[in-house]
Amino acid sequence: MHQIELRNVNRVFNKNTDNTFQALKGINMIVEPGDFISIMGPSGSGKSTLMNIIGMLDVADSGSYWLKEVDITKTEKSELPMMRRQEIGFVFQTFNLLNRLSVYENVRMPLIYSKKKYGKRSKVDELIKMVNLGHRRNYLPVNLSGGEKQRVAIARALVNDPRIIVADEPTGNLDTKSGSEIMKSLVDLNKEGRTIILVTHDPQIDKYAKRHFKMVDGILTED
């Protein structure tokens, strides 16, 4: 059993209108536990669309998406948030922190929605230390550098202990130095056995991955 298996996945936007657009064309992809995958490709080629489907924020129009023996395309929509919470940690290009919450509160935030893990304060602090932000615990995001913000986002992605990290251009808004720090964190997480699926434009970043994919006009190929 694979960790993730995409079979002939298609995604068509604005179906049945004049500007209908097929963003993903027959995607096939198999991901094994512990993979470190990077996906490169030109802007608009469908990389984010694919990440959203893998992260269950979006649903394929056809084809099947198997995640741990479950066909997500046939799963009740109301169950997707629970699956997402347990299996996927998202890291975004624009960090997506909540500006009114402190570093600590941002990292803890996903726990509000997962009853069984709620209250693990020590775990939150552990993660904040792990990304070297112990001294910034009570800072608001506005007072953090880009690299620090992205480290908060990584800690937040890990708080539910997901097996898969989906990172859509995590270094896109960072300078080279902060970018390589983030990549080191991702490498460490991969060494722990977590699967990393990364989108990037940057060949330097691509080098950290173990498997390399190309996306062109909605078609995915492995190098």
Binding site: N52, G55, L57, D58, S78, P81, M82, R84, R85, Q86, F90, F92, N96, L97, L98, R100, L101, M109, P110, I112, Y113, S114, Y118, R156, A157, N160
Partner: protein, 407 residues
Amino acid sequence: MFQYVLLSINSLRANKFRTFLTMLGIIIGVFSVITLMAIGEGVRSEVGSQIEGFGSNLIMAIPGKIDAEEGINPASMAGQSTLTLKDLESMRDIDDLIETDAITIVNGVAAVGDKQSIGSFVVGAGLYLENLMDKHVEYGRWLTQKDLDDHANVIVLDYVAKENLFPGEEAVSVLGKKVNLVNKELEVIGIIEQQEETDSIFGGSSPLDNLIIIPNTLSFDINGNELLHRIFTRASESSLVDEKIEEIKSALIENHDGLEDFSLLTQEDMLNLFNDVLAIITSAIGGIAAISLIVGGIGIMNIMMVTVTERTKEIGIRKAVGATDANILLQFLIESSLLSLIGGLIGFILSYAVSIIIDLKFGIPTAITLEAILLAAGISIGVGIIFGIAPATKAARKNPIEALRYE
């Protein structure tokens, strides 16, 4: 749940002024509902028990015709009284009526030096009012026949009037002191003490307190006429009440040259009349309160719609980390309910303060009951939920990808 409350407090605090403005409608609505209830409940229980204290045999004659069907005709109540000493005598001549007495309202303010008894009800009375109204002299004595015959310059104060005129003084030591009333110097002969604790939870005085009594003959001198404003009597048996009313009616109609320009009320009539008046006032103000609650609710809905749009990105982020539609719905519903509940709480505190002031300053009894507290909480949470549903649903239905892209 608690987490959502914290989240809501956090976001409401982020926009304090806007939050306050949004609450105004609810504050006013809850304030008017609760203040109204406090006054209504207080007056109802106090006046109700006063009227009941008269006993079920009581019959009262008042000037003007009150039609049970059409309610009170205000015109008939205004102007000069139509009741005379002759009416009083006629009623005294009827068998099986006891302790028949009348009051004459005197327009005057009692004063001692620079201290005035504001809001006092100054009346001329005869021998029996003490028993009829169940207001008994504790120190000194009530009026005597001699006082009436002599137009004596004497005065009986109740405990409220005594406190106004002689603050802090022992009731006994007030006896024999002088009180000024309309150019006359009157000697205090009796003090009526407070009957019993009122049942309002905040204490306070009853509407028939703050009473000052002088001989009716003296009140005629002051008013310059011998008109009576109320005649009270009691049937010796309650089974006789209806029969006696008919007898009084024909006697008085005869006195008034065939004109029925007075009304005869029993204790039950008085209670009904009083409750009718209270119900009219209550529903009028209740309507205003309902409108302000609806306006307040719409204000909340409006602001919550704005909030949901402003926080589109936040909604996207929360969904991306695993929040369900129901989680988001609950978060915004709790926020709107909390907004409304805090408004309700402020309204409640204001009305609590105002009802105490009304009680102390104007002597109108108020009572904030447990029902009122629960009603305030219920109304405000209810408004928050009802008017929060639309914005919360809008938030919950947001597509996470589009929400994340929102700037």
